[in-house]
């Protein structure tokens, strides 16, 4: 969500996804509260290590698809059967087989758009929102673990610094976003 308050973030950059996975594992073992992990591409097996539960987005995808399916089929039926009945090519008024391709396309369209819009809404990515990017290189070749240190004392920050050094982070930075 587009939060108004800024956060102080301490983040470390890794150069390899396997190092990142090991680091996340040891952070979990040490019960450190990870704010976010950012990677330039989807890293296999990262979600389970982070302990993220399975996304529920695809349930919504199914519902959107079902709505699209009913909408496409229903609209065509209404238009051609009841609102403006026309005989096409000697077919009956309600030519179900010829509806199937369009119904299929509507299902895919609704499900894809619905999921995209939902995903962007959850992430607070509306048009005009200025994205908060910790470091431009995480979209290129760096793997990042970020901790929220807005309310942490010096001792906590030091221990996080030590954690980054121990797990082999190439760089450690602090930033307000």
């Amino acid at each position: 969500m587009a939060a108004v308050a800024t956060k102080k973030v301490l983040y470390g950059l890794y150069t390899d996804e396997e190092d990142l996975k090991t680091a996340v594992k040891s952070a979990k073992d040490a019960h450190l509260d990870i704010m976010d992990v950012l990677t330039p591409f989807p890293v296999h097996g990262l979600d389970p290590v982070l302990g993220l539960s399975e996304s529920r987005l695809h349930y919504l995808g199914f519902i959107y698809g079902a709505i699209g399916c009913l909408f496409g089929f229903g609209f065509m039926s209404w238009a051609v059967v009841s609102d403006w009945p026309i005989i096409f090519g000697g077919k009956p008024y309600w030519p179900i087989p010829s509806y199937i391709p369009i119904t299929f396309e509507m299902t895919v369209l609704f499900s894809a758009w619905g999921m995209t819009i939902t995903f962007y809404t959850i992430c607070g990515m509306w048009p005009g929102v200025k994205p908060k990017i910790l470091d431009n290189r995480i979209t290129d070749d760096k793997f990042c673990i970020a901790f929220d240190v807005s309310e942490s004392g010096k001792k906590d920050v030091d221990s996080l610094q030590a954690f980054f050094t121990k797990t082999g982070a190439a760089e450690v930075h602090e930033k307000e976003i």
Partner: protein, 480 residues
């Protein structure tokens, strides 16, 4: 985990398979006794299962070749299973030889185009459409298309297998064999892709010689591929229950499940494509094919979709169902039976019509009908093909007298007939027989080589294969 394992084909399994084969032979004989004079039920049962299981061997080979060409690594853990499946093509050559001999010797009447004198304009049985296609629909070309093409595939399958076995003998993992295997695999793809269309046109589509569909070969090949994948999963699960293939994890199972899910949707797509193009264009000699089946074979027609699309689509849609052994086995059983059912649907109604026509020709009833028919080829076809659909509107007022003649001497084509309208007990028995035969040769080939090609360069990748859907160890692994 022991990687160097060898399958042992024990006596108990052999005995069970022999019992299955005996049952199959018994049911074949049973269907030949008390059959019509052309032994349609016997021959369709034979053709149906021979094509089905030979086709499974072919698609196993095709799938393996496609995976190897695409540098797929995951397949190595189950590669020997694929190889063993593909070797059945040699047996299929013998099975289909019987059909080819039957065509030459006129032992069966599966193919109406094979009626003597059908291409001779002076002959009363002359059929203009079939005469026009006689370059393709002739015994000579049939022999080339069935035995020749199958022989080519079997040779490729043999070479791939030999190469894979030779790799085992090499001391260290070497890319030489792999490169050679890729050459065989890549060259098989066009051979299999193009020749399979002709293979299936001749064996199955030509049962309805007036009907023509460009989608047919795709749709029936995909049907075979799905049956092969389903059988493969069931065989893997069986072998695992016996303690083999420990290294085949749920990750492999998950990927095979995805294939079954995705290709089932593709099958439905092709099926519907074929249906809708014909339905929309509404050309007489094409539409009659579906009209006949929808009206007189509703259980086959709708059951086909229920078994092969609705069931795998709804069950395998979820992520976790593909990883559950019981669910996968259940779905695969349905999909395997469903595609057997699909081939039943392709073969039986058409062969029943062909036998019916042959009977009429023999009794001289079609002769008058042909003389009365207009010379124009389109009308001619419509006249002969609507003849199949007893009681259709067109037929009723076109030649009422003809229709009455049917009713007097023959069972109607729209009536229920076990073994044609739905599979009967004999068909199930024949299926079990052919399945036992297939599995017998499969296990024979499996026991002749180590279960894992230890020198394959992709071995390690396959052993650590992961779909990334679940954490390692949790809900994964081989124990179930």
């Amino acid at each position: 985990m022991n990687l160097n394992t060898q399958f042992v084909f024990d006596g108990k399994l052999k005995r069970n398979l022999f019992i299955g084969m005996g049952l199959g032979v018994l049911c074949l004989v049973w269907s030949a006794v008390g059959d019509d004079e052309y032994h349609t039920r016997f021959w369709t049962n034979y053709l149906h299962n021979a094509v089905f299981f030979t086709g499974i061997a072919f698609t196993a080979m095709f799938f393996l070749a496609a995976q190897i060409t695409a540098f797929a690594g995951w397949i190595v853990a189950v590669k020997r299973v694929w190889e063993a499946l593909s070797q059945f093509m040699l047996v299929g050559l013998v099975l289909l030889l019987v059909i080819v001999v039957g065509v030459w010797g006129h032992l069966h009447h599966l193919y109406h185009w094979n009626t003597p004198g059908i291409t001779d304009p002076a002959n009363p049985v002359y059929d203009e459409i079939i005469a026009g296609k006689s370059g393709f629909l002739s015994p000579a070309f049939f022999t080339i298309g069935v035995l020749g093409f199958l022989g080519i595939w079997a040779f490729w399958a043999y070479k791939m297998r030999q190469n894979s076995l030779a790799q085992d003998q090499h001391e260290t993992a070497s890319f030489d064999y792999y490169k050679k295997e890729r050459k065989w695999a890549a060259s098989f793809l066009p051979l299999g892709g193009f020749l399979s269309t002709v293979f299936l046109w001749q064996l199955i589509m030509s049962i309805d010689p007036h009907w023509y569909s460009t989608m047919f070969a795709w749709y029936s090949t995909i049907s075979l591929l799905l049956a092969g994948l389903a059988l493969m999963v069931m065989v893997i699960l069986y072998l695992q229950s016996k303690g083999y293939l420990e290294y085949v994890t749920r990750e492999h199972l998950h990927d095979l499940g995805k294939y079954i899910f995705g290709i089932s949707v593709f099958w439905m797509y092709l099926w519907f494509d074929q249906f809708m193009l014909i339905w929309y264009a509404n050309v007489g000699e094409e539409t009659i094919y579906f009209k006949e089946r929808m009206e007189n074979y509703p259980v086959l027609f709708w059951g086909n979709m229920l078994l092969n699309f609705v069931t795998p689509f709804l069950i395998l849609m979820r992520n976790d169902t593909k990883r559950k052994v019981g669910t996968m086995f259940f779905v695969c059983l349905i999909v395997f039976f469903g595609h057997w059912w699909d081939f039943f649907y392709m073969i039986k109604p058409g062969a029943r019509i062909a036998a019916h026509e042959a009977k009429e020709l023999a009794e001289g009833k079609m002769t008058t009908h042909h003389e009365a028919a207009p010379i124009n080829s389109d009308d001619h076809t419509t006249a002969t093909t609507t003849d199949h659909a007893e009681g259709s509107v067109a037929n009723d007022h076109a030649d009422t007298g003809h229709g009455e003649a049917h009713g007097a001497g023959h069972e109607s084509l729209s009536s229920f007939k076990a073994g044609f309208t739905i599979p009967g007990l004999q068909e199930i028995g024949v299926l079990i027989g052919f399945l036992s035969l297939f599995l017998f040769f499969f296990f024979r080939n499996l026991e002749r080589a180590p279960l894992l090609p230890l020198k394959d360069p992709f071995l390690e990748e396959s052993l650590h294969h992961s779909t990334g859907a679940y954490p390692e160890g949790e809900d994964g692994g081989h124990d179930h």
